[in-house]
Symmetry: C2
Subunit: 193 residues, 2 copies
DNA sequence: CGAAAATTTGACATGACTCAACTGGAGTGG
DNA sequence: CCACTCCAGTTGAGTCATGTCAAATTTTCG
């Protein structure tokens, strides 16, 4: 039975709960299995959930005015993914989230999450830390875009996220770095020397 | 007397407190006056405070490996400023914060802030919202850097932040947009036609 | 195996950078 | 009140990184 899987042990690894507490927490999450190519969220959708990634690989991307895709985030084991901008402001999604590989997710709604915040302060501070971390990661990315060449950013990417590199296509990486696949190809050729 | 200024009325405009509560809150903030050119934080410093800007204008910037400055944030009336990456992780500052104009700030230490969190849940959620907003702003900026030309980003900047444009030099804006002053000058010439 | 998808390559275009020189204004001091 | 300096902004010429478009090649996978 799916409901017997102790999701809280996966998700909140550092936190301590009693068995009864774990039952409550686990009941707030819903297992979602997606296949490669599936979209779990489309631009324009109402966003009322976020997703913990048990396994698999996903990416969230934005399609700009010229129809080009820009990857904002990849997600693998143990990461979270959603359109947070829309999730926070209860506005419509500007991002699309796609499974790059088959994946198993634990979905939680805003409502259930707020329930957990109320009952478990440690969960609220877990999410706060997560948000603070994401903020820091975003700031680093802004600085990287302002100060580094495409080549430097690519090298940083593959050294920082070797696990992600294994799971995604080069054109996904290009769309994360903000360059064309052709440019990425030339950078890779340069580096292989 | 400085301590009689009701800081909480400025800072937490939407929130309701009793007079006694306001006294407690106000006591956690310290008034700091800075002159144009002053640095309130330098890269390498320990960061244990954040600042509410009552008036004036500041910017936070990072100096990269080639010695170039990249402005991460401007701050004017009613905004907050700090090196949040360092503040959150209690690590050393990577940002420098400079007063662009004389300014009056309300400073709060991490310790005092955590006190307030404990006593006033509405303050904790005020800061959560603030963080969520900043996250959203950063995401927009990442997407702008990935998908827009320097000219488009400049136009966005001056329409989104007309108040800031008034207070800062063009070379500050250039360092925010990630372009040289020469390029910005050419963009402005183009637009003036 | 064969078709579709992903990547690479080539030729050329372009936006932004670099460096150096110049302009115009805002003080400042003789 | 002029000469001087400093600072911000502008302009010009040449360069470079990355983009565009088209075609060739390689990889993936049904």
């Amino acid at each position: 039975m799916q409901t017997d899987i102790p999701k809280s042990k996966e998700i909140f690894k550092g936190l301590v709960f009693t068995n009864d507490e774990r039952k409550i927490i686990d009941s707030k999450f819903q297992i979602v299995k997606v296949k490669k190519g599936d979209l779990i969220l489309k631009a324009g959708d109402v966003v009322d959930s976020q997703y913990y990634i048990l396994n698999g690989c996903l990416r969230s991307y934005h399609i700009d005015a010229h129809g080009k895709e820009h990857t904002i985030q990849f997600g693998i084991n143990n990461w979270w993914i959603s359109d947070y901008t829309a999730f926070f402001s209860t506005s419509k999604a500007v991002m699309t989230i796609e499974a790059i590989k088959n994946a198993t997710l634990y979905k939680i709604s805003r409502e259930n999450l707020e329930d957990l915040y109320g009952q478990f302060p440690t969960i609220e501070s877990y999410y706060r830390k997560k948000l603070e971390n994401s903020f820091t990661v975003y700031q680093k990315r802004i600085l990287a875009e302002l100060s580094q060449s495409a080549k430097e950013r690519y090298v940083d990417f593959i050294t920082t996220y070797p696990e992600i590199e294994k799971s995604v296509k080069n054109y996904h990486i290009a769309s994360y770095l903000g360059i064309t696949t052709e440019s990425l190809s030339r950078i890779r050729k340069e580096l292989s020397k």
